[in-house]
Symmetry: C2
Subunit: 236 residues, 2 copies
């Protein structure tokens, strides 16, 4: 058995990771697999399989599980080990409420504290994102989009805010991806991102807060429908 991974070819075993950072690297690899959806939600993770695949012993892997449990990506049950957490639409909505709240704080602070360099970087990302949209590269678009939101939060120069936003955002990433697949939402989202960029460039904190909020609520209303129809397909 083998867990799929977009990072390495299937038969390949990892080169040994440096002593002292093995559990962090393992956590990063497993996190990537989970966030990317390479390991299906709800499945138990077999330690032996993953240790062989990653070329480390069980100790750093089990430490990695503790890290990922703290991030809400796996659940560890006694004698049953680690299971990839499955998140309901209600839980995704709850997390988005939180993300909106975090971005609200970030919006005001970002408009006060962002350096011209940071804004320029976001503008570049925005251009790249629009380009990906025009080329129809959904994955690239989605990834750049995520980066833009993270960078806006980073503009607030609040490490706690950036850390929590990144973790929560990763936790629900694979569920949010669903929404953008509808092309009419995709076009609308690109337009909203124009507004976001404008508000940031003009350093209008209250405006930025509101357009971000509306952007997420619009996105979620579409994503929720997609998720729910996918779930009813899966269950019926």
């Amino acid at each position: 058995m083998q867990y799929a991974s977009k990072m390495t070819s299937d038969s390949e075993t990892e080169a040994t990771w440096p002593r002292g950072r093995r559990s962090s690297f393992v956590a990063q690899r497993v996190r990537d697999m989970i966030v990317a959806g390479d390991i299906e939600a709800g499945t138990r993770i077999n330690e032996r399989v993953l240790t062989e695949q990653l070329g480390v012993s069980r100790t750093p892997l089990r430490e990695a599980f503790k890290i990922l449990e703290g991030e809400g990506l796996v659940r560890i049950e006694p004698n049953r080990g680690a299971t990839v957490v499955s998140i309901s639409p209600e839980e995704v909505e709850a997390a988005i409420e939180v993300l909106i709240g975090l971005e609200s704080v970030a919006a005001e602070r970002a408009c006060e504290r962002a350096t011209p360099q940071m804004i320029a970087e976001i503008e570049q990302l925005h251009t790249a994102m629009v380009d990906a949209y025009k080329r129809g590269e959904l994955m690239e678009y989605f990834h750049t989009n995520q980066t833009i939101h993270q960078r806006i939060v980073d503009c607030a120069h609040n490490a706690t805010l950036s850390r929590i936003y990144a973790a929560e955002s990763a936790r629900i990433r694979r569920y949010r991806y669903a929404g953008n697949r509808r092309s009419e939402r995709w076009a609308r989202a690109v337009f909203e991102h124009e507004q976001i960029l404008d508000a940031l460039k003009q350093r209008e904190g209250a405006l930025l807060r509101e357009v971000l909020r509306a952007h997420h609520l619009n996105g979620w209303s579409v994503t929720r429908n997609v998720l729910e129809s996918e779930m009813s397909k899966a269950n019926g």
Copy 2:
């Protein structure tokens, strides 16, 4: 050597914890020690000492360190193990900004979703807190105060919100305790809590948001001064 703990008498060793939950229990114990200030900020934690004190092997202890690292309570460096994180006033302020943001989300939702039972529980806690204030029991006051804020957040019925709020709140707890020692701030804080309770009971979300925000900003301006003067004492 021995790490102080308010939980057990000094010479006592733990009864063995149940198999399958040892790292969680160890994490809880170490978390309590750190949050209570029993282990000083900036100090390295010796694995051998703590394993002997807690009566577990190094494996669950090291797993607990990974959990606590995720919570921002310790930092793990290769070949140097776990160190209790020391937080600067700027970082406390950043975390408080986030807590205000989280409570802002919570305030609106709590006023929509709180059950009468939950509001009644908060009212009881409030009464107990005022009582502790009148008796001059600062520790009891502080603890009840923390519980009230957490319960208000819990009223929003958003598990993600509650989880993040609890973790961030714990992370900076020992730094916030400083502020309340000034009696004029203490009296003012009790008054502000009356306003908080009223707003919740009347389910005025926007009002609750604003009084909570003001409450934290007022508290922080006092706490910051105390922290900074303590730091200048420590360094000068």
